[in-house]
Amino acid sequence: MTWRKWSYMDHWVTETPQGPQPPSFNRAYMDRYIKQLSSLGFTGFDTFFFYLPVYAGMYGSVKRFEEHLQDNGFEKITGIFSAYPSATRWAAPHVRETHDRIVADSESIMRMIEGLSVENFIVMPTSTHWQTEPVTDETIKVVADLWNRVGRMTLQHGIRTTCHFEFWGAIRTREQLETFFEYTDPELVFAFIDTAQHTIAGVDPVQLFREVRDRVTGFHFKDTHDVDRQEQYRTPPDPELQAPYTQRWFYEMGTEGGLVDFPALMREIVASGYDGWLTVEHDKAELGGGSYAEATAVAKHYIDTVLAEAERAARGEATR
């Protein structure tokens, strides 16, 4: 048996009469995009909170959008991503005075997906490192308090709050991650492992998964060519697109020179008994002339071949 629960994170750029745009450009492009993902065999769809009103407008409601996904071979919307990458005076996870606003925002998102069976509310736990530093024990405690509050609230809506760490975020090292998980309630706050982000930050995602397995509710499977050894994570205002020494951080699975050991992670996932969604993400795949469509197909080929083999091997080991 090969893994059935593969979802796709809603980054995509396609050529339109008005230049390269996301498929949310209009309904026709959106319909094509859904068919394209479906043709590859993805059955879960993760998206950003800010697309929910767009899709509701385009399809009638978020529920109707999900029904359209289902008409095209998907099971459901699996995750909603929310973030405050830039700290502002209104919302910054490390500033306790802004927490009410963030909780209210999160509650508003819960209302938008009421009645659906979304599993993960995926959040960036902090803003940029350069806006948050110095990152102290107390900083992490404040951030943890926020997500404990949000986690309690989203569980009342049947959805788990799960934290997706960026290489440029304020919680990025092994020690900071450990502290964060210590300060957050394991019943309320979960972990979402982005393979590339952790690798860039110098954290082995396979080892991290082993350590926090019981709290993991999802993954972004993407690769990178670089570990940040020059403190590029501190580049203001945005280390993802303005790092001085690295033009492009993220690559699809199967990329030559990729640093993530996906087969090892797959074996670990199978051995652990994890049975949730695995999500393919391509972020900024168009940098250097790449195509989201091709990157997605190449990644799916990698899943169908290399990861399927790793999975088979792991299942064989598990039964011995």
């Binding site: 068919k35 043709s39 095209n72 199967g254 469509a293 091709e294 197909a297 071949t305």
Partner: protein
């Protein structure tokens, strides 16, 4: 695709310009894209020479050494076989007398074209492809309409190539295109009548026929015994009359909009406003127990990976064919 019909995909949409689709890494990504969408056989495109690392036989062999090594390269990226090889002798190539122009209608050119076909036939056989698909005549705008007696010249030429192909265990299929001097249904019938059915088949291209004013389903029903190869793609437009005769029609009609601002002629299966009855043709192929390859194409259409996905989606969801 798991089906009683055999499905392949044309690589021509990636090879859309002289200096693109050159590096092996580019080939690998295209092949993996096809594998991930359920296509495990490919048709190799025609080419001119330099940079045709997945088209011209001599260049492929320069890259990979042997046909078997080339096949191994394909297999390592998830594509198991070559269904067919396309060759357009009216397009100049390095290996064909250094970009010589020769015309199939000209009896004095026949020997050279037959000689040019030898390495193509040999390579087609060596990679285990079943069909050599050829452009049988030049573009209509390049000369006077074909006189009835010129069909005998075309027929004799393609019979000779067909014989060589048959000796190598390969079928020869004459491909219809909407710019060809062989344009109407009567023209096609005249060409087929001039050839030996044992040696020469017909490559039915759904969009090209439709643009040329021929209903591909009706044509197939009438000539199923001669159809040995199929190219499946859609179109939203028909030639308004004599557009195929526009000087430089490859540019002025297919790329220049034919004076009526048509930005694109070829579309993916299931396109809105598509004129081709794709499901009808597939039903007809099944009804006639068609044994050849069905090659899905999307040339001149846009992002190749996106179009492959849409075509795969159509086969899976509209025709009910399992991907694997």
């Amino acid at each position: 695709m798991k089906d009683t019909l055999r499905w392949a995909y044309g690589l021509n949409q990636w090879n859309f310009r002289l200096d693109v689709f050159v590096r092996h890494e580019d080939h690998r990504r295209a092949l993996q894209t096809l594998a991930a969408t359920g296509f495990d056989a490919v048709e190799l495109p025609s080419g001119t020479g330099r940079w045709d690392n997945i088209a011209r036989p001599e260049v492929i062999l320069r890259n990979h050494g042997t046909a078997e090594a080339f096949l191994e390269f394909l297999r390592s990226s998830g594509v198991q076989q070559v269904s067919s090889v396309f060759w357009d002798p009216s397009a100049p190539a390095e290996e064909e007398e250094n970009y010589a122009f020769r015309f199939a209608r000209n009896p004095a050119d026949s020997d050279a074209i037959v000689e040019w076909s030898v390495p193509i036939v040999d390579f087609t056989s060596a990679v285990g492809a079943e069909q050599l698909v050829v452009r049988p005549a030049h573009s209509a705008w390049m000369g006077a309409p074909l006189a009835p007696e010129e069909y005998a010249v075309l027929g004799a030429l393609w019979n000779r190539v067909g014989r060589r192909a048959a000796d190598a265990g390969v079928g020869l299929a004459l491909h219809y295109d909407c710019l060809s001097a062989v344009h109407t249904a009567e023209d096609v019938e005249r060409l087929l009548d001039a050839t030996d059915p044992e040696l020469v088949g017909f490559a039915l291209d759904t969009a090209e026929l439709t643009i040329g004013g021929i209903d591909p389903v009706a044509f197939y029903e009438a000539h199923a015994d001669r159809v040995t190869h199929v190219h499946l793609k859609d179109t939203r437009h028909r030639d308004a009359g004599e557009e195929y005769r526009m000087p430089g029609a490859e540019s002025t009609m297919l790329k220049g909009g034919a004076g009526r601002r048509i930005e694109r002629w070829f579309y993916e299966l299931g396109t809105e406003g598509g004129l081709v009855d794709v499901a009808g043709l597939v039903d007809a192929l099944r009804a006639h127990d068609y044994r050849g390859w069905v090659v899905v194409e999307s040339d001149h259409g846009g992002n190749p990976a996106e179009l492959v996905m849409l075509n795969s989606w159509y086969l899976q969801h509209e025709l009910g064919i399992a991907k694997a």
